[in-house]
């Protein structure tokens, strides 16, 4: 076999490998976003229940509850983009955080079995969401690295792959971890 032919074959193999690895990374991101979506949906499903149980008591936080309901309705709309979902999740996390803090001001509410149940369920879902978010961020980081690093960036450019957004941890969420509450 002539040398140019060998070089051509090697180059072709490298190109195929690069292409495949990029596709695999993109699919990994989508795949993990599907799990994020599942757990987010799980949390959204808890919200009507939560709103129903606390609205009787929470006169002053009506606007908070309305916001949560509105966010949920928006998240349930079909065909919304991943970026939009990520933004909605951030807003939802902080709104739910505020409600949970507000619950502390109502001793009746805190002792309510139904609310307690919801709180615990929410905490569990939050942990799952956090795990899903971390997985998603790692997949996106791998993907972003691949489309920015040499040599795969050239190929990514041809395939018109764009950078994807990661989940950012909401400031209020960082503060809200109350271990005692989690495990009582």
């Amino acid at each position: 076999m002539s040398t140019p032919l060998i070089i051509l074959i090697v180059v072709a193999i490298i190109l195929v490998l690069m292409y495949n690895s990029l596709v695999a990374k993109k699919n990994q991101v989508e795949n993990i976003f599907a799990s994020v979506d599942t757990v987010l949906k799980k949390r959204y499903d808890l919200i009507p229940n939560l709103v129903a149980s606390v609205s009787k008591y929470m006169e002053h936080e009506k606007s908070l509850l309305e916001e949560v309901t509105k966010l949920r309705a928006e998240a349930n709309k079909p065909n919304i983009s991943d970026e939009h979902k990520i933004n909605l999740d951030a807003k939802m996390s902080s709104a739910l955080g505020s409600i949970m803090i507000a619950v502390e001001n109502y001793p009746d509410l805190k002792a309510n079995e139904n609310v307690m149940h919801l709180q615990h369920s929410l905490n569990e879902v939050e942990e799952q969401i956090s795990a899903a978010r971390r997985s998603y961020n790692q997949a996106v980081t791998d993907y972003n690295n691949a489309i920015e690093m040499i040599p795969t960036n050239i190929m990514a450019n041809f395939m018109s792959y764009r950078r994807k957004q990661v989940f950012e941890i909401v400031e209020s969420e960082r503060k809200n971890v109350n271990v005692k509450e989690l495990f009582n």
């Binding site: 615990h120 942990e127 956090s130 795990a131 997985s135 997949a139 271990v179 495990f183």
Partner: protein, 313 residues
């Protein structure tokens, strides 16, 4: 649970009468062993001198028979030691714990942990089982070996794992399998090549890159499920495992399979055995017994396994 210094106090105060008696036994035994070893070696040397051939065979037989004689000689002393020192120590940590000097964690559980390739022979002793803060826990010494055959057809045993093997219930629900191993590739070859090598490990599931740099440097994680692996290995558990690893100062393998956490700590020696040539009152000797027991039984609190998720209560 008592802390290490309280246990050390217990060792030197409450166990002192037993230790003193054992010390006397030990000194007598040591003398006996030296004498027997000298006679035994002299006899073997005499035989070798007369036969004048098959040196390697004689050497292997010398070591093998010597080990058997040694084990036989220290048998009673070992038993006395375990019943009068190790058992009370375990009871002092938690009186509900059960101790058996002869058995070990079942082969089934060891194989389930998926931390090492399937062994052909599992030995072990010093089995402890009990319930700490509502969490079932068991651990023992384990020596797992695999048989390999050379091209000549001679089989030999090599060690897969020797050390402390701990199993406990885990406080979160999960379905897949997640394995945490000491990171050798990344330490040897650096991040880029090490990571690439790890992702090509055919014997393991998918590589999971964790978002804690220190943890990632120390360990490598494989799992059947990327999200679940992170659900199990929360930021706080990663921190706790790192602390545990530093405290134990031995290579640590962890796996999360079938609602349980399995931990294998490589010591490369049989633990909880009485020292024959060093005094039992030696601080270092005492500390090893105390610390190892405290470390194993302490994992429930150390890793906060007792803080069960609400849906698991």
């Amino acid at each position: 649970m008592k802390n290490v210094s309280e246990l050390t106090d217990f060792y030197y105060k409450s166990l002192y009468p037993a230790l003193q008696k054992l010390e006397a036994d030990r000194k007598g035994l040591r003398k006996k062993i030296v004498i027997v070893a000298a006679i035994y070696t002299f006899l073997v040397a005499l035989i070798t001198y007369n036969i004048n051939t098959a040196y390697d065979f004689i050497f292997v037989a010398y070591i093998a028979l010597g080990t058997i004689i040694y084990k036989f000689m220290i048998h009673d002393y070992t038993h006395e030691f375990k019943m009068n020192v190790i058992k009370p120590l375990i009871k002092a940590i938690d009186s509900s714990l059960l101790y058996s000097s002869k058995t070990h964690v079942s082969d089934y559980i060891f194989n389930r942990s998926d931390l090492f390739s399937t062994p052909d022979r599992i030995n072990g002793n010093d089995y402890v089982k009990g319930n700490i803060d509502g969490i079932n826990i068991q651990f023992s010494d384990i020596h797992a070996e695999k048989r390999t055959k050379s091209s000549k057809g001679r089989s030999s045993w090599h060690t897969l794992f020797q050390g402390l093997f701990i199993v406990a219930e885990f406080h979160k629900n999960f379905e897949g399998q997640t394995v945490v191993l000491p990171d050798s590739a990344q330490n040897t070859f650096g991040n880029l090549i090490g990571n690439w090598l790890q992702s090509k490990n055919m014997a393991r599931d998918e590589l999971v890159k964790m978002d804690d740099p220190e943890f990632e440097k120390e360990f490598v994680v494989y799992s059947t499920n990327q999200v679940e692996a992170r659900y199990i290995l929360s930021h706080s558990l990663m921190k706790k495992l790192l602390i545990f690893k530093k405290k134990s100062n031995h290579p640590l393998h962890v796996s999360f399979i079938g609602d349980h956490i399995h931990m294998a700590l490589e010591y490369d020696k049989d633990l909880f055995e009485p020292s024959v040539f060093k005094s039992l009152l030696d601080y270092k000797v005492a500390m090893e017994y105390v610390q190892t027991l405290h470390l194993a039984i302490g994992i429930v609190q150390e890793l906060k396994l007792n803080q069960k998720l609400w849906s698991k209560k």
